[in-house]
């Protein structure tokens, strides 16, 4: 009777770690910590009042058209998507130099029109190029003026000055159905 008078024996907790590790590995594998990212847009609210009939001078509007075959037409010319960003930047920073492009950056409008048959992929790519053009001219202006890009600006007023200089006037028309579905 060697072990008499010892009370209940201790529970062996040595395998506890193994069990916990097993659970840990399970959660490690199932955890997804990717934050969803996306192109942020704000849709225009529906109003009963028709939009004010702003007679935009044609030169202020950069017309971007995407047809059902995912072909890009900028100001009536077929264009490769790689060139769209530069063309938009040219339009935004024209300041009246080229008689076919915008009078000033605050008047510059980009009009994006697509077909109902345009693929979503193409649309996102075009939209991305246009957004990239805006953020590039804004950053450039911000660096020239304040020495840092837009998202590094400390004061609200400075940021507002940059966004007022290059307001994001990106208008989207209702898609038309020209090229079938």
């Amino acid at each position: 009777m060697a072990r008499s008078g010892r009370g209940i024996p201790e529970i062996n907790a040595g395998s506890m770690a193994d069990i916990a590790f097993l659970l840990l590995v399970f959660f490690l594998v199932t955890t997804t910590m990717d934050i969803p990212t996306g192109l942020q847009v704000t849709l225009p609210p529906i109003t009963d009042v028709p939009p004010p009939d702003t007679k935009q001078r044609k030169r202020n509007v950069l017309e971007v058209l995407v047809n059902a075959n995912d072909q890009l037409l900028v100001e009536g010319e077929l264009m490769r998507i790689e060139k769209l960003k530069d063309k938009t930047i040219q339009h935004l920073t024209n300041e009246g130099k080229d008689p076919n492009l915008a009078v000033s950056s605050t008047d510059a409008i980009v009009s994006l029109k697509n077909d109902r048959g345009t693929s979503y992929d193409m649309y996102v790519r075009v939209y991305n190029e246009l957004s990239a053009a805006y953020s590039e001219v804004r950053d450039e202006y911000s660096i020239r003026k304040f020495g840092v890009p837009l998202d590094k600006l400390r004061s609200e007023d400075q940021a507002k000055e940059v966004t007022d200089k290059y307001p994001k006037k990106l208008s989207e028309a209702e898609p038309v159905n020209v090229g079938g579905n």
Partner: protein, 154 residues
Amino acid sequence: MSKFKKKKGGESPAINTSSLPDIVFMLLFFFMVATKMRDSEMKVRTKLPQATEVEKLEKKSRLYYIFVGPPLDDRNGTASRIQLGDDFADLDMIQPYIISINSKKNPDEIKYMTTSLKADVTVKMGMISDIKQELREVNALKLSYTAAKALDED
């Protein structure tokens, strides 16, 4: 008669591992809390487009999810369909879906709600435009075209 007797046998003592489970449990709880199980089962394929100008969406609780894409199961056809929550839906179900989510939210929070539109690259813009129109009608104006971050070319 010294009180501090030297232990016999000079082997190094075993490392005390009794706190190991505690450490592991701590890690375990961290991952349990951080884990978000995929809450809706995907019924449509959403191969996301790539973009460089993407921004992070802030809070997952402040999102409406709309999935659009061709069904994963061929028996449901091959044409692109909308998925809300766990099930296929039609265009006219978007408005009630958003209203039902809004009704569970704090009224102050509603203006921060963003729609995360996860659409497959092959979806046609006609469908996306119809969805956008529905969202405008229910006054859910913040929209995010969910896209993967592409590497900058320049």
